[in-house]
């Protein structure tokens, strides 16, 4: 079985400040990792994904994440946030054994303040 823990349920941050959203996973097999963003009253949109290769992954809107196998983490970062980054962010994991079914973390709500 696999699981995902997002340690922060809410993260308030000032505009133009950096933000880091933490994600830790648990799995007995090799994993593939995703970050999705959900804007109010919308579906999920992919920010970035780690499938293989470089452990530093760059995504859309200036976000990046680093896969750390030894720490079983996939933290999301952005060096300077905008008001428009206010949304809920979900970390998700899957594996070949899971057949691409995603297991999601509980989500982190980011509120960017002016």
């Amino acid at each position: 079985a696999q699981s995902v823990t997002q340690l922060d349920s809410q993260v308030p941050v000032f505009e133009e400040a950096p933000v880091e959203l933490r994600c830790n996973y648990s799995s007995s097999v090799s994993v593939y990792l995703f970050w999705y963003v959900q804007y109010p009253n919308q579906g999920l949109q992919l920010l970035l994904k780690y499938l293989s290769g470089s452990t530093l992954v760059k995504g859309i809107n200036g976000f990046e994440a680093e896969f750390n196998k030894s720490q079983t983490s996939f933290h999301l970062r952005k060096p300077s946030v905008h008001i428009s980054d206010t949304a809920e962010y979900f970390c998700a994991v899957t594996s070949k054994a899971a057949g691409n079914k995603l297991t999601f973390g509980g989500g982190t709500r980011v509120l960017v303040k002016p």
Binding site: Y36, L46, N100, K101, L102
Partner: protein, 114 residues
């Protein structure tokens, strides 16, 4: 191009009634997923269709839930004898091929059971 569409966007029903939720995946996508997003349970997997293979129903919470996918395209999620705990946002996603890949999400159907 057109994304994943879902209908209706909102559905209010009375306890005990049956409901049908529809998902139109991206044209040509062979994999289709249903997830449920609720306050108490977060985002959870329900069912997965891949091509002509038998669906993976391992996430369905009870036998009141069923889904079908006709002609390898449109999918319908049916909930019989709805209960208040079925109130949630039901999200559909599709993926272009078998195996590990990005899932493209629809906007969801918000179901409220009175």
């Amino acid at each position: 191009g057109a994304g994943v569409s879902q209908s209706p966007s909102n559905k209010v029903t009375e306890k005990g009634k049956d409901v049908e939720l529809r998902c139109d995946p991206i044209s040509g996508h062979t994999a289709l997923y249903w997830y449920r997003q609720s306050l108490g349970q977060g985002l959870e997997f329900l069912i997965y269709f891949q091509g002509n293979s038998a669906p993976d129903k391992s996430g369905l919470p009870s036998d009141r839930f069923s889904a079908e996918r006709t002609g390898g395209s449109v999918s319908t999620l049916t909930i019989q004898r709805t209960q208040q705990e079925d109130s949630a946002v039901y999200l559909c996603a599709s993926s272009p091929r078998q195996g590990i890949d990005e899932q493209f999400f629809g906007p969801g159907t918000r179901l409220t059971v009175l």
